[in-house]
Symmetry: C2
Subunit: 204 residues, 2 copies
Amino acid sequence: MKLYDSDWAPNPRRVQCFLAEKGVTIPRIHVDLKSGAHLHADFARINPLHRVPVLELDDGAHISESVAICRYVEEIHPEPPLFGRDARERALVEMWNRRVELGLFSHVGAAFRHGHPGMAVAEQPQIKEWAEANRPKALDAMRFLDRHLDGRNWLLDDYFSIADITLLVAFDFMKAARLSCPDEYGALIAWRDRIGARPCATAR
Amino acid sequence: MKLYDSDWAPNPRRVQCFLAEKGVTIPRIHVDLKSGAHLHADFARINPLHRVPVLELDDGAHISESVAICRYVEEIHPEPPLFGRDARERALVEMWNRRVELGLFSHVGAAFRHGHPGMAVAEQPQIKEWAEANRPKALDAMRFLDRHLDGRNWLLDDYFSIADITLLVAFDFMKAARLSCPDEYGALIAWRDRIGARPCATAR
């Protein structure tokens, strides 16, 4: 098994955070996004959508999409469970993971891809107005998450899950999008301090 | 258990398609989106994000996000399995479900929300240029799916999964976005004919 991976992009980081919480290491093959290695015709065999990360299984199958890779890792390394411990909790993890993806991560990503000069070639057409429209939506998502986290350790109370990892990656990716968490969202900032002490926070 | 639901929106349809393939019925409470019933302060108790569908469990917990609801139904009604039958297949189902969501569904949704005059009040700001930018991206996704489906019955070969349900809902939602599948994508059109004979196709 090996993982096609890159240094700085948020989705590869999600998988590395997940592996760090599992205490699992998978051999990594570095794909240099800056030189466009993922766009090469040879890479289409690994992922026809030309994106990382991709997990290659020993039978040659390729699993792309970060959450699909994490789900496979959960199956082969069940402890500690990060997708929930029973039917109800697994559904709530899926719900919170998606709320963070759709509510915060997607808006931060759009603000970055459509607003950052360094993305002008990769994102065609780059629409500044769309970048700007996503900034208040990201702030709305932060307010929603701040209110939810008030009085809770993690998104699912005392249970740490992949939804917190998604939030960590989205939160830290705000810097690239020139967004930041307003001081008034104290519960969200305290959550970021708390997760900073976990194995996932330093995974790269 | 009961399901807060609406008539015409694509995400509630996803859950109904899933239930139809399971042969399961859950009592439905109709939420009238056109009169804005989901925006009412009372509805925040059910889903603070003011969206349907939402599954209410007997213990009072609320599960929103279509795929989270489907995952819960899969846990309590495992047959037939629609999220995969083993670790490898479950990862591939997650991958294909996300490829359809991110590759087609999100672009169709953006073309609709930012392009349709009927969405001008709900989608603030409505950005026509963003709607237009999503139309060729939806076409790219159709070409990718057409090539993949060539020689296959379903997205995962002979195994029918939730990823096919997501594609059905995204495909049919194209009409609302004034998009259509070009005739040259014969494998995708044949797939739509094939799924048309299944229980999910007529679920509402």
